[in-house]
Subunit: 173 residues, 2 copies
Amino acid sequence: MKRAEVIAETKFLRLLGRDGWHYVERQRTSGVVAIVPVTHDNKLVLVEQYRVPVDCRVIELPAGLAGDLAGSEDEGLEQAARRELLEETGYRAGRLKRLFHGPVSAGLSNEHLTFFLAKKIKKVDAGGGDATETITVHEVPVAGVARWLRRQEKAGKTVDVKVYAGLYALRTH
Amino acid sequence: MKRAEVIAETKFLRLLGRDGWHYVERQRTSGVVAIVPVTHDNKLVLVEQYRVPVDCRVIELPAGLAGDLAGSEDEGLEQAARRELLEETGYRAGRLKRLFHGPVSAGLSNEHLTFFLAKKIKKVDAGGGDATETITVHEVPVAGVARWLRRQEKAGKTVDVKVYAGLYALRTH
C-alpha cells in the first residue's frame, strides 16, 4: 500500500490523501467501540448528547475511543467498552459479547467500530460522561424502542443510524 | 450557531472547526443515501468494492451521494437512491420506502444518511458502478445473510456496519 499523504493535521484529526482519494483519520486512538447495553428487566440504555458536527442533540449507543487517554494508550477494546459504558451511563457491565466489527463510513474515514453486547448491566453511578461531556441517559423498554425513537425525532433530536445496527443485534441475540 | 472555521479544504472534503471541535464535511452533495434492496425471491443485494480509506474490500449496502454530479445539483434523495441502485447493482427499483435518516458518525462528520427499502427490484443491467468504480454485486438469500457475512470476513473482506442497520430494517418490514 502506498503511504498516505497528510493534507492537513490538527490535534484530533488528520486529512489524508492516497491514490486520488481524500479521507480523514482520528489521532491518538486504537479503535472505536459501541455498546448495546441491556438491563436485567430488558431495557436498552441509550445516550443523548449535543454533537457539534451535526449541531443537534443525537440519540446514540454508548460509544467512545479506545486508548485516547494519556497513560492508557494500550487500552484494549473490551476494556474501553466497559469504561465508556460506565462513564456515559453509570452502568457496570458483566461479560461483554463481541458482536461485529467494521468501518462505518468507508469512503470518508478509516474509522472502524467494534460493537459489544452488554447484558444484565448494573447501575452503580449516575453516568453523564467525563468532564468534557454532558450526556443524558435513557432506559427504553426493548419492545418499544422503535416507537420511542420516532418520538425523540418529533421532539427535534436525531438518531444515529448505528442505533439500528444495535437493534439488529438485540433481535438476533 | 457560530459559523465553522475552515481548517483545510480539498476538492472532496472540508476539515472544519467549531467550538473547539474538529470535523469533516463532504463537498458538493445534498445528502447520502443507502438502499436495502430485496429481490422478488427474497435475496438481499449487497455490493463489494475496494475502499481506499480502509485499504480493504468492503461489503456494503448500495449507497451514494445525492446531487454530486454536475448539472444534477438539485437531485432529490429518492431519485439518487434509484440512480445509485441501478448504477451499482443493475437493479431497477419500483416504489421506495424511506426507512430512517440520521448521522452515522456524529462526532467525526456532519454526514447524514437516508435509508430506503426497495422491494421487488428488477434486474435490467449488469451494474458495477460508474466509470470510476469497480463493484461486485452479491445476491444473498435473506435467511442466510448473517452466515454469508461471516464467510466474507473469513475471506479477508470487511463488512460496513450499516449493513446491520439494513438487516434490522428487513426484520421489521
